[in-house]
């Protein structure tokens, strides 16, 4: 029922090579395959992740992968040194508004200052609401 993953003798961490049939119509596949891929051994991924030293992947069967990624690293190294062009910072500062950043605080987080006037207004409002509610209840009860 299930494939024996080790039956082909690839027990050294290298993944099974799976041929990619890109000519097969997309409609024939259950899931689109995405870009074609080349299987890379787990050990080589570990080296690329910086988990093991290069000496641990210096084996004949992986030398092609290792050489390929060392070549790629020449360009990746250059990309790692890239700096923001000097004029960009000035451009950003020119575009930033002159006024202070707006503080958008939801009403329930805002501070309330209690003054005698606001207390009177709140009390009057509560009294009015209470009277109206009582009147409505009494009318409904009749």
């Amino acid at each position: 029922m299930f494939d024996d993953l080790q039956s082909d003798g690839l027990n050294d961490g290298r993944k099974r090579e799976r041929p990619v049939n890109s000519e097969r119509p997309l409609a024939d596949r259950e899931v689109p395959l995405g870009p074609p891929t080349t299987a890379i051994a787990d050990a080589v991924h570990a080296w690329l992740d910086g988990e093991v030293p290069e000496s641990s992947v210096r084996r004949a069967e992986w030398s092609r992968d290792v050489d390929f990624w060392k070549r790629m690293n020449e360009d990746l190294e250059r990309r790692r040194r890239m700096r923001t062009p000097a004029h960009v910072q000035g451009r950003i500062m020119e575009a930033i508004p002159q006024h202070a950043p707006q503080m958008i605080t939801p009403w329930w987080r805002r501070e309330f200052t209690v003054t005698p006037t606001s207390m009177l207004v709140a009390a009057a409002t509560l009294l009015a609401v209470g009277v109206a509610a009582t009147a409505a209840i009494l009318r409904f009860a009749r």
Binding site: I40, D49, M72, D75, T84, I92, A100, P101, I104
Partner: protein
């Protein structure tokens, strides 16, 4: 800074712009677009400073990363190139310089053919030099998922380029 101290904000731009620019440039492949995304992201960051929760650099990274993804959703580029960095060339001969330009161009095209999520993971790992834990924190996903994305990106890039460069 919330009181409107633009000088303090300049310090933040100086400190964080390079890794953000690298991310935008590698994701979009265009220096002009990368500059625009960086500018809009810092303006947005300035306008919404009061909403920062946690680290500023992680927050502004997410703004830039989302800006790149939005741009990629709308634009499909077939060939990408960008200007030289300010570093002096370390190559001795014109042939080596030509090889370097060709590799850069081929890698740009290969990167642009990857799905955005794979490209993002690859760039964060191999250009920005971030750890998987840091990437997971920034992108709000798991280390395992990101390892899978980086591995798939490598395998796709190697499939595209190994005939010429292996």
């Amino acid at each position: 800074m919330l009181a409107g101290d633009r000088d303090e904000f300049t310090v933040l731009i100086t400190r964080y712009s390079d890794p953000l620019y690298r991310h935008a440039l590698c994701m979009t492949g265009s220096p002009d677009v990368a500059e625009d995304i960086l500018q809009l992201s810092f303006i947005k960051a300035y306008q919404h400073l009061a909403e920062v929760r946690g680290r500023f650099d992680a927050w502004v990274f997410r703004i830039v990363a989302n800006g790149c993804k939005d741009w990629l959703k709308n634009i499909r580029r077939s060939h990408l190139s960008y200007d030289e960095d300010d570093q002096p060339s370390g190559y001795a001969t014109p042939e080596e310089e030509l090889d370097r330009t060709e590799l850069r161009s081929d890698l740009d095209v290969a990167l642009s053919s990857l799905p955005a999520s794979l490209r993002e993971a690859f760039v964060m790992k191999h250009v920005e030099g971030r750890s998987y834990e840091e990437m997971a924190d920034l992108l709000g996903t798991t280390v395992g998922a990101l390892k899978m994305r980086v591995h798939r990106a490598r395998e796709a890039l190697q499939a595209l380029l190994e005939e010429k460069y292996a």
